[in-house]
Symmetry: C2
């Protein structure tokens, strides 16, 4: 799981992001997630698979239901990628400023 590509692809779809945002509020089973989202339940399952394989959400079985929740792992990986790029840019700006002296 969880290369950068998979993470950004997962978060690039509006429906998937909506699911992700609701799971950030609180853990939920698939059926409840499907309500209030204008796509069918199978579509939700497919989206959850993408989010899960990216490491952005986690599943826990409870009887016949599967409780999905936000997975810190994927969030952290995405954040660290952006931080890395940001730090690179800072170093670059600094180097450029010193060359200007």
């Amino acid at each position: 799981m969880a290369n950068i590509s998979t993470l950004f692809v997962a978060l690039s779809d509006p429906t998937r992001r909506k699911l992700f945002e609701r799971l950030a509020m609180r853990a939920m089973p698939v059926g409840e997630l499907a309500k209030g989202i204008p796509v069918t339940r199978p579509a939700v399952s497919q989206h959850l698979k993408v989010l899960r394989e990216a490491g952005l959400v986690a599943v826990e079985q409870d009887g016949t239901r599967r409780i999905y929740s936000l997975d810190p792992k994927g969030v952290e990986l995405t954040r660290s990628y952006l931080d890395r790029m940001w730090n690179r840019a800072l170093l670059g700006f600094k180097a450029a400023a010193e060359r200007t002296d």
Copy 2:
């Protein structure tokens, strides 16, 4: 520019991410960016347009060349979105833990 959708869509393509990463190292004109990337220069221009409209890179004209550089704005917006989701999840975990007591 710069709704969350546009940002994640921009970063979800490997070629665009490669351009973004190189611009994080240092500012560059289009021609130099196109070298070392296995797509044609027009494709690079199209990708840069997407990154620019997302607020992830900025342009500055220098004669016939256009120098692209990383734009902190888009990076910051993406980071803050992830932080927001992460904080939501923390609140949720906390509330769930208190209900368990």
